[in-house]
Symmetry: C2
Subunit: 189 residues, 2 copies
Amino acid sequence: MKALKDRIIRDGKCFEGGILKVDNFINHQMDPILMKSMAVEFVRRFASTKINKILTIEASGIAPAIMVGYLLELPVVFAKKKKPSTMENMLTTTVYSFTKDRTYDVCVSKDYLCPGDKVLFIDDFLANGNAAKGIIDLVQKAEAELVGMGFLIEKSFQHGGDYLRAQGIHVESLAIIESLENCQIKIKD
Amino acid sequence: MKALKDRIIRDGKCFEGGILKVDNFINHQMDPILMKSMAVEFVRRFASTKINKILTIEASGIAPAIMVGYLLELPVVFAKKKKPSTMENMLTTTVYSFTKDRTYDVCVSKDYLCPGDKVLFIDDFLANGNAAKGIIDLVQKAEAELVGMGFLIEKSFQHGGDYLRAQGIHVESLAIIESLENCQIKIKD
């Protein structure tokens, strides 16, 4: 998606260890107009997919997910990164964060991720795919069906996308970063 | 706002200690159509206010804030609840959570909350106002101007709204809960 690629080149910042910061328009400050355009692109790419629920993880996934849900007129569920004290009836999985070198729990209520749900997962980043694997686990535990996964930015050199596609999952990424070597952002055409 | 009040009566759940759970349409599962309608209502209520930036706190504030930002075509910044390791140039404040009986840090980058910014803060809940006080502190530290605070739901019996209005802040709440005594949801007309 050209508008996103152009924005990454303009405002993305590269750090050692394959880190791409897009705090200017996605992860801290958000550009709602671009967010809506990206949601439209997801609607187009998943046009032939039957979906009844959008799923994401807090916090940076919420903005793109709510825009997709708004366009498709579907409920949006955000999985939480800690088990809230007032929540019962939870499905939980553990995710290892490569960036932060620690594990965290991700949970979702059975009330909102239900057997038979046709779930489109939307998130900001796909890197090594650990968060995505956690989502696959949650969707399976809920006896729901994962019909697609859409990411704003995929870092293909970290191979999470390879894994997901090898599982037969319909993965769409709006910008694919092939390399951040020498802090040069190389985006797939 | 009638649609929100009706939805709270229909789907809100009351727990001991003055807790109102709206996990069905705001805090875990989100209704994007209602979210957009609430954003329209904020636009109307702050129609005569000059705003150049929307500010919120992760995670439940992001959805209403991005919708307001989308309608007004303004950038949306979400304050973070922990200091990210890759962030420099941060403003930080400490907030006491009454519900969870612990403090947490809220931070925002000086790159995105800047001197002279005219900031509309949007969040899901206003209860005792501790998070809002943290936001006031951050906005002051940034030498920005807080031009208004909009909340989806205010629990007036916890008096955060009284405090904010006494400071001369323009506060708008789309539904005001007067009491949750005996687990009866009483909403202001």
